[in-house]
């Protein structure tokens, strides 16, 4: 069973509209959670991370995410998107392997911001 699930493969949205990208995790992952962004032909860049403490986490570029233990979710939000936010977004969590933590990723969500 997949450890991290992103429910939407594509999310189209108009510029300046709010957006939520959904991520759910299973109990097999340790509860450190990450969102990464990938712009075209680039590697992945960390947007934000939850390690402990406040369940609302703020990241770069105006993004934030909320850790919800009861719903096993870590959804990413932005109140007003820009064209430049068009990218692929990945939710990730470490899974304990035989020798250490391996980061496992959701399938990705392509955010398409339209003018």
């Amino acid at each position: 069973a997949q450890s991290v699930t992103q429910l939407d493969s594509q999310v189209p949205v108009f510029e300046e509209a709010p957006v939520e990208l959904r991520c759910n995790y299973s109990s097999s992952v340790s509860v450190y959670l990450f969102w990464y962004v990938q712009y075209p032909n680039q590697g992945l860049q960390l947007l934000l991370k939850y390690l402990s403490g406040s369940t609302l986490v703020k990241g770069i570029n105006g993004f934030e995410a909320e850790f919800n233990k009861s719903q096993t979710s870590f959804h990413l939000r932005k109140p007003s998107v820009h064209i430049s936010d068009t990218a692929e977004y990945f939710c990730a969590a470490p899974v304990r392997g035989n020798a250490g933590n391996m980061l496992t990723f959701g399938g990705g969500t392509r955010l398409m911001v339209k003018p």
Partner: protein, 110 residues
């Protein structure tokens, strides 16, 4: 800033060739990873190394091997490249759980 450098951005190789993808990190991280990324499949872990000369198979190790002779360098080897190994390959390193990625190598096998 952590820097993870992959030796090539783009590579074109022929079927049956032996291919080396190189990755170097400059932050003394214990852990290094190789992923491949394909449309609709997200990132899939090929191999993981947690120390020099130590490795662990990921989800899709078949057709690949790795080498970690020095802490900063992690190489992915395609012993005999096949067309189904055409993909984007991403290297990453981490100290604890947060991973830092290279720019990726887009490999085309013809």
């Amino acid at each position: 800033d952590v820097k993870v450098t992959q030796s090539s951005r783009y590579l074109v190789k022929r079927t049956g060739e032996k291919v080396f993808l190189e990755c170097v990190q400059d932050m003394d991280h214990e852990n290094m990873f190789w992923y491949r990324q394909d449309p609709g499949l997200g990132l899939r872990l090929i191999y993981f190394s947690y120390d020099v000369k130590m490795k662990e198979k990921g989800d899709i190790p078949e057709g690949y091997s790795v080498s970690r002779e020095k802490k900063e360098r992690f190489s992915l080897i395609l012993e005999s490249a096949s067309t189904n190994q055409t993909s984007m390959y991403l290297c990453a390193s981490s100290l604890h759980s947060e991973a830092f990625f290279g720019q990726g190598t887009r490999l085309t096998v013809v």
